[in-house]
């Protein structure tokens, strides 16, 4: 396929020839004009199609661009010599003028971008606070029986947050206990303090890692699931349907899930603590030649109830963080399928960051209170 051109009497005549197909590179108008040896001004562009065989969108594209060029340059275009179907497509492509779709340019520069970022963070914090406020209001409504508890949603969320999560919590907790005991075995043996490995494992699991590891697992598992479920509902306009019926999405969707995860996480944490200590026991009895009695005596002497309670308090806070970040990101989902993925990612990232932050704050508070 090619296009020849010749220039006579202020008219540029274009001659598309041969078979035009999308399977070959498209000729450009510029090449045709350059080949035509245009020696004066052009008032009209016309066509000769005697040698044109078959054509498809490639020729229509060429003619569309030619028509665009003529419009911009105020040149008359004569399409009457084109095959009727071809002329029809060209006129169809010209029927609707180009829309002005340029967005307003935002401010550029490092300072401006930092300012915009700070404003985004500020708005985000306001959103989080507003969301927490709505959740607290809903919980208060539950207590005062102004809000009806959705037991079915609660049950499904509780089941997916507890029994369904047991396998992964089992594996991870056991391994974490093994790892702490293994590290302890290597380090403590150098000081002849093998006996204290059970203290290290139990103190580490009860106060820190039991709750932390469970929370991180549940953020990636249940928090992400909350965001994806609610995000998909948002896209399918199910949230709008709730609102128009006068049902608060917070009461209907968020509160049952939040309560489920807040109840589930301490239970899972206790389970993880036990598994972690069993992992430590395995290492202590095999690598350090401690007896069961020595292990448990070394564990029960220094570890106090407060260590376990700190872990439980943390797990309640972590549960609230997972529930709130998962549900909030779900409700903030945009309008398309990719937005669900973004909401899920965001729920996990937000959850983990806030969990680590909360961990630090609770540890600091415990140190101040000498707990």
């Amino acid at each position: 396929m090619q296009v020849d051109a010749h220039y006579t009497d202020r008219t540029l005549v274009l001659r598309p020839t041969g078979t035009w197909s999308l399977r070959s590179p498209l000729p450009s108008l510029r090449d045709a004009v350059d080949a035509a040896n245009v020696t004066g001004p052009v008032d009209t562009i016309a066509f000769e199609t005697d040698d044109l065989e078959n054509w498809d969108s490639s020729l229509v594209t060429f003619l569309f661009e030619t028509a665009e060029f003529c419009r911009e340059q105020d040149i008359e275009i004569r399409t009457e010599t084109l095959p009727a179907s071809l002329a029809r497509l060209v006129s169809l492509s010209q029927a609707v003028p180009e829309q002005d779709t340029d967005d307003e340019e935002g401010p550029s520069g490092l300072l401006a971008r930092m300012g915009l970022w700070a404003l985004d963070v500020y708005d985000e914090m306001l959103d989080v606070l507003a969301f927490i406020g709505q959740v607290v209001q809903s919980l208060f409504g539950l207590l005062t029986r102004q809000v009806r508890m959705r037991w079915r949603t609660f049950g499904v969320a509780l089941q997916s947050s507890t029994s369904s999560a047991l396998p992964i919590v089992t594996v991870i907790s056991l391994l974490v206990g093994l790892i702490i005991a293994f590290l302890g075995a290597v380090v403590l043996r150098r000081f002849g303090a093998d006996y204290y490995v059970s203290y290290l494992v139990s103190y580490g699991m009860l106060r820190e890692l039991g709750a932390l590891m469970t929370a991180i697992i549940m953020t990636g598992r249940t928090g992400a699931a909350f965001a994806a479920e609610i995000g998909s509902m948002k896209i399918a306009e199910e949230i709008d349907a709730l609102k128009t019926l006068g049902i608060s999405p917070i009461d209907f969707l968020v509160t049952p899930r939040l309560l489920a995860i807040v109840i589930a996480l301490p239970l899972l944490t206790v389970y993880a603590d036990v598994l972690g200590i069993l992992g430590g026991l395995a290492v202590a009895t095999t690598m350090l030649d401690l007896s069961y009695t020595q292990f448990f005596t070394g564990l029960l002497e220094p570890v106090v109830l407060a260590d376990g309670l700190v872990g439980i308090v943390k797990s309640v806070v972590y549960g609230a963080i997972i529930g709130i970040s998962g549900c909030m990101r779900g409700l903030q989902t945009g309008n398309d399928a990719s937005a669900v993925g973004q909401a899920t990612t965001s729920a996990v990232v937000t959850g983990i960051i806030l969990i680590v932050l909360a961990n630090a704050i609770i540890d600091w508070a415990a140190a101040v209170l000498q707990v």
């Binding site: 999308l22 498209l26 661009e65 179907s85 497509l89 169809l92 779709t101 398309d336």
Partner: protein
């Protein structure tokens, strides 16, 4: 057509001539979209054959079937534009996958296809940034990206306002008249049926087969059975 032991439709025999617009019509749940899915190779018939351009679709190997299906274009009910891509990327994808065109030429063709459906200047928009009618038109631009010989439309005017629906009908007619494209449309939009169809095929949910095939005006004036009359005249009672 069947799902397991549940038969959706049986004894469907019809052909579509080149350049013809055939409308598949019928009540909700009659199997119109299922029939379309059989025609575009998404579902395999439990018995019988589907032939495209003289080739029995399910007697070809996967590669040959894929090559044959590339000569068709499909406009899905909800557009089915890929949400993570701009309109230009959506329309450009088949061109990138199945032609050797360079990026500049692909951009040029994408601009033309968008212009043909009245969406010039929307190249960089994402599907969620445009209206439902515009999404349908952009999906049509993607369906015709490779200049298909056969176009399949699943409920093209559903969810559109009357003017947008009429515009889309006109576009369908223009495409057929300009490119001699064979078009199969699934719809129960009576306005559309009478505007665009050369022939209409009626799927009857009760008898689970086709009970009418012919020009819609003829079917309305001389209905072969009461349910076709009821459907084409929006009557509450079958005569």
């Amino acid at each position: 057509m069947a799902f397991g032991s549940f038969v959706v439709m049986r004894d469907l025999t019809f052909d579509v001539a080149q350049g013809e617009i055939l409308v598949i019509m019928g009540g909700s749940g009659s199997g119109k979209s299922t029939l379309l899915k059989h025609m575009i190779g998404l579902l395999r018939p439990s018995d019988g054959t589907v032939q495209l351009q003289g080739n029995a679709l399910w007697e070809l190997d996967e590669e040959e079937r894929s090559a044959l299906l590339r000569t068709t274009g499909v406009l899905y009910q909800k557009g089915a534009l890929w949400s993570t891509m701009t309109l230009a990327e959506n329309i450009g994808l088949p061109l990138r996958e199945y032609t050797d065109l360079n990026d500049t030429d692909i951009d040029r063709i994408v601009s033309l296809k968008l212009a043909l459906v009245g969406l010039r200047g929307f190249e960089s928009f994402y599907p969620h940034e445009i209206s439902g009618g515009m999404r349908k038109r952009a999906a049509l631009a993607r369906a015709v990206a490779l200049d298909p010989d056969i176009l399949f439309f699943d409920e093209p005017t559903s969810g559109l306002d009357p003017v947008s629906a009429r515009r889309l009908d006109d576009l369908v007619l223009q495409l057929r008249d300009s490119l001699n494209t064979t078009i199969v449309v699934v719809t129960h939009d009576l306005e559309s049926i009478f505007t665009i169809a050369d022939r209409a095929l009626y799927l009857d949910i009760e008898t689970k087969t086709m009970t009418a095939l012919g020009p819609p005006e003829e079917l309305r004036s001389n209905p072969p059975n009461p349910r076709v009359h009821q459907f084409l005249t929006r009557s509450l009672e079958a005569e």
